[in-house]
């Protein structure tokens, strides 16, 4: 039983200017230079840099996007020469799945290592596509909440990966069955293999280092695994190419092979090579994936890695389903086949925020894999320059190892704490009990039918999910 798992974080300031959302523009000509200028009264002392920036010209605009948006200066200036603008650079950040807010909060978490806390209620849309269309449950009077985050009660977030027995069997008190090999991850997440154009410079080294420190697993493509020292071996999971025999990775804890028509004998040959090594099969999410997974598991596959695209969608010609529906479909099919408890389901793709990890586990995945958030932690801006072959504006490949490691460790620390917050709220103290517990979450289409359907009849258009 691991002792109380806790990730120690330590603040690590960013190397480059963060694209703030709000800025202040003022017409200095009309300024009456009042003695108690509002700029002196700024509670967050934003303008202190302005005076220095004017003297030594060093990117004088750095400070204006640190404005916290309290409007005190704009509203108090006697000449009303200050006005507030939204930084259009900020609005162009990321893409339609990785919205600017996601980048900003990920950068904050990677910098401070503490979960983002702010005042006033949620200001976003009522609901949204994908994971935004479900709420997790909370419990108060009837089921107690577990207060893990403040460390009152220990909430165990570790999950087991591998094949499990349907039940044990005893012979006059003695356990007389040997359960198959199991590896355990302290968090329900793994580092996925890096998208190709981020395989530059120190980036892969940083992620491997964090995985080693935190005891997490990281998936690496077969040909990218250089010579690793002993300590790395037990946290790296090779992703084998099609038809590779995986001999050079005999003592890795687990390997992943892509699905193919004769994948079963590849699995068998790998298992014969080393029975202790777990073999996972990677399957692309598609409308008919559930049947394929059930047949694979029926044939003895221990772990299935269900892969979606970057915004969590299956590849289907029209209206592709999101992770939350694909995973529930696969989980339900395995349940009906009676084999869900014997295998491990890993969902990849579409996990941008810690709540996505929790919601994916609720929908039925044992654990998830993440890639993009790790890159955001070392300040990537998803500007897409590297995808077009241009040089990276922040030279990601030159990130120092300790700096990058601390940033990603901070992010993992906040993801762990936010997982504890959500599990604590729903009164569950074991991540293994969170899997498939759709009793502890609410889907918007069900709530709509139950509450508004009863009052207003049928919806004109289905809920956009």
């Amino acid at each position: 039983m691991p002792e109380k798992y806790h990730i120690h974080t330590h603040p690590e300031a960013p190397r480059f200017r963060i694209e703030g959302k709000l800025g202040i523009v003022d017409w200095r000509e009309d300024c009456a230079s009042c003695q108690n200028c509002v700029k002196k009264g700024c509670v967050y002392d934003i303008y202190k840099e302005e005076t220095t920036a004017l003297h030594e010209e060093r990117g004088y605009l750095d400070y204006i996007y640190k404005c916290k948006g309290c409007l005190t200066c704009v509203q108090n200036c006697t000449k009303n020469i200050l006005t507030r603008v939204v930084n259009t650079e900020y609005e162009r950040l990321g893409d339609d799945y990785y919205k600017p807010e996601i980048l900003l909060t990920t950068w904050f978490q990677a910098e401070t290592g503490s979960i983002p806390v702010s005042g006033c209620g949620y200001g976003g849309p009522f609901s949204g596509p994908g994971f935004d269309s479900m709420w997790t449950d909370m419990s108060e009077i009837v089921r107690p909440t577990r207060d893990g985050i403040h460390g009152r009660e220990y909430i165990n977030t570790s999950v087991d990966i591998g094949r499990k027995l349907n039940h044990l069997s005893f012979n006059d008190g003695e356990l007389d069955v040997k359960s198959p090999p199991i590896i355990s991850s302290p968090l329900p997440l793994m580092f996925a293999e890096l998208p190709v154009n981020w395989l530059r410079g120190s980036v892969p080294g940083i992620l491997a280092n964090v995985a080693k420190n935190l005891g997490l697993f990281s998936i690496v493509r077969e040909n990218e695994i250089g010579d690793q020292d002993a300590s790395m071996v037990n946290t790296v999971i090779p992703l084998l190419n099609n038809g590779s025999n995986g001999d050079s990775f005999v003592d890795s804890p687990m390997v992943i092979i892509p699905d193919s028509p004769d994948v079963l004998n590849t699995v068998e040959s790998l298992k014969n090579a080393k029975a202790e090594r777990i073999v996972a099969v990677r399957v692309m999410a598609s409308p008919s994936v559930a049947g394929r997974v059930v047949s694979l598991v029926g044939a003895g596959v221990e772990v299935v890695n269900l892969v979606h695209d970057r915004s969590g969608r299956e590849d289907a010609p029209d209206s592709p389903r999101h992770v939350r529906d694909v995973v529930r479909d696969v989980h339900g099919a395995l349940l009906k086949a009676g084999t869900r408890d014997e295998m491990t389901l890993i969902s990849s793709g579409g996990i941008a925020l810690p709540e996505h990890m929790t919601k994916a586990v609720i929908c039925g995945a044992d654990l998830v894999t993440i890639d993009i958030p790790l890159l955001l932690a070392i300040e990537c801006r998803l500007c897409g320059e590297c995808e077009h072959g241009n040089p990276c504006s922040i030279r990601l490949e030159e990130t120092e190892k300790e700096y990058g490691t601390q940033r990603v460790t901070n992010l993992m620390g906040t993801w762990h704490n936010q997982l504890l917050e959500m599990m604590g709220a729903m009164g569950i103290r074991e991540a293994r009990r969170l899997r498939g517990e759709t009793g502890r979450c609410m889907f918007v289409e069900d709530l709509e039918k139950q509450a508004f359907g009863r009052l207003f009849g049928k919806r004109k258009t289905d809920y956009v999910i």
């Binding site: 948006g69 309290c70 983002p116 949620y122 200001g123 976003g124 108060e140 509450a451 049928k458």
Partner: protein, 524 residues
């Protein structure tokens, strides 16, 4: 059997005790009268901005014709003041005869959208809703028509519900006869039948997190309108004693500042099981916010961080909850009991369970409610929006046959009188205001309440310097005005619906339509 002598140094009592206030009777007196409560800042943000170029020859033509008092020239001055463009009704004015830009002989005036206005607010509290709330708090009447003051832009819940008005309002119904009273004790027990004049009361903002002047403003506005405000978790400052008939005292999970003395003050005791915005999570007041006055109130020791756990650690089932209610009922024999819960998946079960345990008021706090500080992950993801919870709980209580024995009060995302009508039509008896009251005292929802020295605008802060910017009278007047504006709009809506009281509106879902559902005509 004398006990060992203890070394005691009790922290100094709060400087102004309740007795001080009792001695100045006039201070506690407050009335409903609407008086103009000008904005606290020099440049209030408006939807439009008017620019006066140097071509102006101060002829004063615009001062005469502008009905909204945008252009002013104080007595004895030649030049005009910079235009108060937050009062300007903008392009609507073009079609009228008093359009200052056209009327200006020199063509010195120009009208444009205010660029900073669009950077305000968010999808739930749009800039128009913020400006409407400020105007209501300033004038005490309905906001000007150029502001969209009925719905936000969250594309769901209240924002997709519309009220279905009949053709013509009934001729015989007079607006003065419409009653907006609701009864909070619907049980036939021997506790007083507490009634409030308006179907809402103020939400709890704890001492130690909020400016005492804002809290006093809320308390005095509650007294003026014969409704309630709430002390929040941080204990019961003596300065509330003059308003104890209008102050709900809160027993929260940390049991901070809960003393038999304060429980015996209150006409209503509220059990705070959860807060909508951070359901299922405890709270943590930083050590440096635990000033001597806060420590004295919470009977803690100065400078220690104060943690409130999430659940009541002594309540893990409905019958534990019943014991908890009976305990407070034992300590104060005439108080009403209110149970504030957030909206879990089985909110109907929690509501009917609280009813069985003896509570008079079931207060549901939806997940999109306001907060001084909450993890962002909680605000967005945990618990159900209030709109679903209201209709489910109302229907369930009706099926159980106990709907008329318990007051169902809801909160969390109720922003305008229109939201109140929709909430009551969905099945609530009344609502609790939270963010709306804070916006009335010039909050702009910048979300910086808990970082560093607290709210930069002086509302949710105990910072010695920052909280001087507000005065109790100003806060009181702003809230009295807003309550008046809300009541006028509410009465107007009830009148147009032909209903003579707000209780008649309860559960009338037939008066509502939802734009995404069949049978709803497209939004006008």
């Amino acid at each position: 059997m004398e006990t060992p002598q203890q070394v005691l140094d009790v922290p100094p009592p709060v400087s102004q005790s309740g007795k001080d206030f009792a001695d100045h009777p006039d201070f506690a007196r407050v009335d409903r009268e609407v008086r103009l409560a000008l904005p606290r800042y020099r440049n209030e943000l408006g939807k439009y901005s008017i620019h006066r170029s140097s071509a102006c020859i101060s002829c004063g033509k615009c001062v005469e014709i502008c009905p909204n008092n945008v252009h002013r020239r104080p007595e004895g001055y030649r030049n005009l003041m910079r235009p108060f463009d937050y009062l300007c009704s903008g392009y609507d004015c073009e079609k009228t005869d008093h359009f200052c830009v056209k009327a200006c002989p020199q063509g010195a005036l120009s009208l444009s959208e205010n660029p900073a206005f669009k950077t305000l607010g968010d999808r739930r509290w749009t800039p128009d809703l913020l400006a409407s709330c400020w105007m209501m708090a300033e004038t005490g009447h309905a906001p000007p028509s150029h502001l969209e003051s009925e719905i936000g832009a969250s594309e769901g819940g209240f924002d997709r519900l519309r009220i279905r008005f009949p053709g013509a309002p009934p001729s015989d119904l007079r607006k003065e006869d419409i009653s907006t009273e609701i009864v909070l004790n619907k049980r036939d027990d021997d506790r007083p039948k507490v009634k409030i004049d308006v179907p809402w009361y103020g939400g709890g903002m704890s001492f130690g997190s909020t400016n005492i002047r804002v809290q006093l403003g809320k308390a005095r506005a509650a007294k003026a309108w014969n409704t309630f405000s709430c002390t929040g978790e941080g204990g019961y400052p003596d300065r509330f004693v003059p308003y104890k008939d209008h102050m709900i005292t809160q027993v929260a999970t940390g049991l901070f500042g809960v003393r038999e003395e304060t429980i015996q003050h209150a006409r209503i005791v509220e059990f705070k099981y959860a807060q909508g915005a951070k359901p299922g999570l405890g709270g943590h007041l930083l050590g440096d916010k635990n000033t001597p006055t806060v420590a004295a109130m919470r009977e803690a020791v100065v400078g220690t961080s104060l943690f409130s756990p999430f659940p009541f650690h002594s309540v893990y089932s409905i019958e534990d909850h019943k014991k908890h209610l009976d305990w407070i009922g034992h300590v104060n024999r005439s108080t009403l009991l209110s149970t504030k819960v957030s909206t879990p998946d089985d909110v109907e079960m929690v509501a009917v369970g609280s009813y069985c345990a003896g509570t008079h008021i079931v207060h549901l706090d939806g997940c999109y409610g306001g907060t001084g500080a909450a993890p962002d992950i909680a605000k967005k993801n945990i618990a159900m929006p209030i709109e679903y919870a209201i209709s489910n709980v109302h229907q369930f209580l009706v099926d159980e046959g106990v709907r008329d024995e318990v007051a169902l009060i809801v909160s969390g995302g109720v922003r305008t009188p229109w939201d109140i009508v929709k909430a009551i039509a969905l099945g609530a008896d009344g609502i609790v205001t939270g963010t709306a009251e804070v916006v009335a005292t010039s909050c702009i929802r910048c979300g910086r309440c808990e970082s560093g020295r607290g709210c930069p605008r002086g509302i949710c802060t105990t910072d010695a310097e920052l909280h001087q910017v507000l005065s109790t009278d100003w806060c009181t007047q702003r809230l009295v005005n807003m309550y008046n504006a809300w009541r006028e709009i509410l009465v107007d809506i009830l009148w147009r619906l032909g209903l003579d009281s707000v209780t008649a509106l309860r559960g009338r879902t037939d008066l509502l339509t939802h734009l995404d559902y069949e049978g709803a005509e497209e939004d006008s």
